[in-house]
Amino acid sequence: MERNAQHAFDAEEVMAYLDGELEARRAAALAAHLVSCSECQEVVQGFCALSERMLSFEVERPSAGMYDTVLAALDSGKSSSVSTPHDVVDRKGWKWREFVFHRRAWAIVGAVIVVAMLVIGIPHEFKTRPDLSVDRSVVSLEKAVPAARGRLPLFQQSDEYNSSLNKNGNAATRSGTNVYQSAAEDDENGTAAPPPPPLPAGEELKAPENVGPMIVQTASLNILATNYDEASAAIEKLAAAHGGYVEKLDAKAQTGNARELSASLRIPTKQLDGFLADVRKLGHVEEENRSNEEVSNQYVDLQARLKSARATEQRLIELLATRTGKLQDVLEAERELARIRGEIESMQGQSALLVHRVNYATVQVDLNEEYRQVLGSGPVSTRTRVRNSLVEGFANLEEGAVALVVFVFAYGPSLLFWLAILLVPGWLAWRRFVVRARG
């Protein structure tokens, strides 16, 4: 419909006028214009002819059966599954409300999600992961304290030792019985376990002769005991049982803190291994150290000096016995003799101490109580309980939301990918099948 560009009314307005959709004032103006404008009259005729032509597209009347069907439904209250314009429908025809309440749709979505999670999750579970756990077991002492080969009486890495290391704070059992119990009961019943063979008298002060190098052994253990009372009482008993003694003992029991006991023990060297094995059973060994110091050269040197000093002493004694020199010389000799004797006594003392240190190992035992502080909370008020539950509720909500977000971020892309791969071809195939079935 070509129109003069300067025409007052365009063809669309004429169409709206014919449809009764033009604004009243504009319609009145157009009506007056049509009286005299042949061009607009042509437009009007064109629209009217078109409408008349369209009416030739006729259809037959419906059958009477439809009338009966609908009225029957009216009387029976038959429902229809057809949605109405009041339902939320977007322009593409998706019925969201119908979809939300459609059980089959949710069942399909749920099945797809489960399949996708299985496809994703199963290979992930079987994937080998690096072992990041920290091995807290105590290293075997053979490795931790390398022995002086051929020179040390090595303590034995017995099965008892291994089992005591592997348990966390629980007393190891010996032959199926509790070591605390057996020690306490044995004392009460007078049937104590056979004590270690006592050392011959004076042997502890006797210098080892021709028995190899002289080694001073020291050991320290840090033990965590669950039954602190029994463990602390057992330490002294074990020392005595092995022929040793407590050199120093400190105990702490501060309020609100775990109790501690620090003991310095002297244990005969020959009994050291057995003593350590028994002490390890008192709890979980958190730390153990051993060291050996060879003092052979020191002892030999000391003996040599002692021998020399004694020889000098003897000469001075012989010299003073004759008293043939001047008084000043005699006094000088007397002073020298006193000095030599002082040295001899000092060296004897050193030698004895050295021998004692060799014969008695020094063991430092630190015993700590496995202490769990009890919260001293009294009865909780209802208001506090309600508030705590509210806080806990929000915390759980937050955790749940975070977990959901983490899940969506972690698995969302994979899920979308698998949904696209699995669903789209299936949906297209289903549509094609339906189209073909309808023919």
């Binding site: 169409m15 419906p62 439809m66 009216l74």
Partner: protein
Amino acid sequence: MVRHFFMNSDDQLILEFQRGERDAFVELFERYREPIYGFFRRRLDYPARAEELTQECFLAVLQNVQRYEPRASFRSYLYGIAIHLVAAERRKAGREVAENEKLDSRAAEGNAAENSDAGIWVRNALGHLELSDREILMLREYEQLSYGEIAAVLRMPVNTVRSRLFRARAALKNQLMPVK
């Protein structure tokens, strides 16, 4: 006693039916049975399917009468249901092009004497229009809906309805120009 609702508007009738007046629905059904059937029949090939959808349309009104709200005219509401049914039917068919092809190529079943050559030409020409333009034109020419009712049914602005209607009429006229 049968109540006569001839002087009542459609909106009044649906509200009467909402209050439980059975005959109000019967009146509405009588008024719109053929127009709704014609609506479906002009868009679908099979008369039987058109009847089924006509029934579905009125059954939907029955089911949802208690939820009905007079936001627009009852006609808009009823044709809105019909539009949804047609859209669903087309989705089931799978392709809108196939619908156009059927509109062009296949002769209407039923009483052949009622379909003249001119009717076939018109149907064929309508098939060449875009779907949305065709719907607007047919709702205006056959269902006699106003611009506002068409806008409510198709969920588009009134000005868009007007411009597209003009475009559709111009396109249809170009299609039908060789035939007098």
